[in-house]
Symmetry: C2
Subunit: 224 residues, 2 copies
C-alpha cells in the first residue's frame, strides 16, 4: 500500500514514517505544506534507514502531490490545521482511500495538562476531522497516545498499544492491520468514532505522569 504522512516532517508523522519504512514493505510518502521540507525529510529518513543497512526509497513533496494515489493518508497536523489541510488535498484523495487522524486537543495550565475539545460542536478532534473529510472517504482515529520521540527512535522498543476507532468496519480493520505491522505496536479496536474523546484524553494523562515521575518519560499505554 501507499501510505502518505501529511505533516510527516516531525512529531508523530516522523516516527510513523520511519517505523513503517523500517518494519514493512509499504511505500511511504512524506507530505508537507512546504514541498522542499517534505523532500528533505524523506531524504533524511532514507539516510537513517541506509545507515542501518536498509535501502529504502521514501518519496517527499507537497501535501497535495503526495496524496495523489495514496491508499492511506495520515493527518499528522495540529488540530487547528486539520480543516485547511483536508481542504488543500481533497481533490487529490482517491476513492477507496482511508484517512487516519492521530491529533489530540491539548491545553495546559498551572494544574497540568488537560484534554481540550475542539471547536465548534465536535466532542473530539477525531470527529472534527471526520466531519471535515470528503464524503465517502472513511476516517479512522488511531495513534493518539503514541509518544513521538520514542516512536521516531528506531532503537527504542514500543511494546504498547494504539487504540483504533472508526465507524467503517472494513477501513478500521485495514488500519488495525497496518498498525500491527509496526514491531512492538498492538492495535486494539476501541469502538466507534463517538468514543474518540476519552481516548484523546489519555494523552494529557500520560504527559501528567511524565511530569510527576522523573523516571517515566515518552510514555505509552498497554491494555491488559
Amino acid at each position: 500500500m501507499i501510505i502518505t504522512l501529511i505533516g510527516g516532517t516531525g512529531d508523530i508523522g516522523e516516527g510513523l514514517a520511519l517505523r513503517w519504512a523500517h518494519d514493512t514493505a509499504h511505500e511511504i510518502r512524506i507530505g508537507s505544506r512546504d514541498p522542499q521540507k517534505g523532500i528533505d525529510s524523506a531524504k533524511k529518513y532514507e539516510l537513517e534507514l541506509s545507515n542501518r543497512g536498509q535501502k529504502r526509497t521514501v518519496l517527499g513533496g507537497g501535501n497535495h502531490e503526495m496524496t495523489i494515489g495514496a491508499d492511506i493518508i495520515v493527518l499528522s497536523v495540529p488540530p487547528y490545521y486539520i480543516v485547511d489541510t483536508i481542504k488543500s488535498i481533497t481533490d487529490a484523495i482517491s476513492p477507496g482511500s482511508i484517512i487516519i487522524s492521530p491529533a489530540v486537543g491539548l491545553k495546559r495550565d498551572d494544574d497540568g495538562n488537560f484534554y481540550s475539545s475542539p471547536p465548534p460542536s465536535s466532542r473530539s478532534v477525531t470527529e472534527y476531522a471526520a466531519n471535515a473529510s470528503p464524503d465517502g472517504v472513511p476516517l479512522i482515529g488511531a495513534f493518539h497516545t503514541l509518544p513521538a520521540h520514542r516512536l521516531s527512535d528506531l532503537d527504542a522498543p514500543l511494546n504498547f498499544d494504539t487504540l483504533v476507532v472508526g465507524d467503517d468496519a472494513e477501513a478500521k480493520q485495514i488500519v488495525i492491520q497496518i498498525s500491527n505491522e509496526i514491531n512492538g505496536l498492538r492495535a486494539v479496536d476501541a469502538g466507534a468514532l463517538a468514543n474518540s474523546a476519552e481516548i484523546e484524553g489519555i494523552t494529557p494523562v500520560l504527559i501528567n505522569i511524565s511530569k510527576s515521575n522523573k523516571d517515566m518519560d515518552e510514555l505509552g499505554v498497554e491494555i491488559k
Copy 2:
C-alpha cells in the same frame, strides 16, 4: 493501618478488601448503609481467606461505625451517593485520616460508553467528592480504572497500574504506598486532583474495548 471500605460489599470495594486482606497486614473493615450487609460481607471475605489457609479478622458493620478510627476511608459508592455518604460519616472521620475516591462518571448509549461529568460544576467525580469532604481531610483519587471482577478474584493476576491524583503530597504518597502493597498493582502519581477527569475517562475506554473484542475482558491499563 485501619482501612475502611465504605460500600465494601461489592464492586471494587469487595476486590480492594480481599486484596488488602490477602496481601497485607492492614486491618480491613467493611461498611455498608445496611450494617447487617456489612457484617455478612466481612464474614464472606473471612471465609474466602480461610479457605486459602489464611486466618484473617475482617470487621463489618454500618458505614458510620466502621469509619470511627479508620486511617483510610475508601468511598466505593456510585457518584450519586457520594455526597449523602460523606455527610453520613463526617462526624466519624478522624483528623489525620485520608479519603480515597475511586468513583467514575459513566453513561451509555447506542454508540458506546462515555465519561459523564457530575453535577453541578466539578470537572470530575473525584473533585466532586473532594468538594463534599470535610475541611482538612485530604481526598485522593485512585482505583478508577480497576476491573471489579478481576480485582475480587484472588486467583487472577493484575499486573497493571492505578493512577493516583491528589493535592496533598503526603496523603498521596501514603495512598501510593498502600496501593503498591497489593500484589501486581503499581500505583503511579498522575498529578493533581484537577487531572482526574481524563483518568476517569479511561474507564469507558476499557469498557468499549471489552465490547469490541471477544478475547479482552475485565481490563486494566499499564503505563510504559
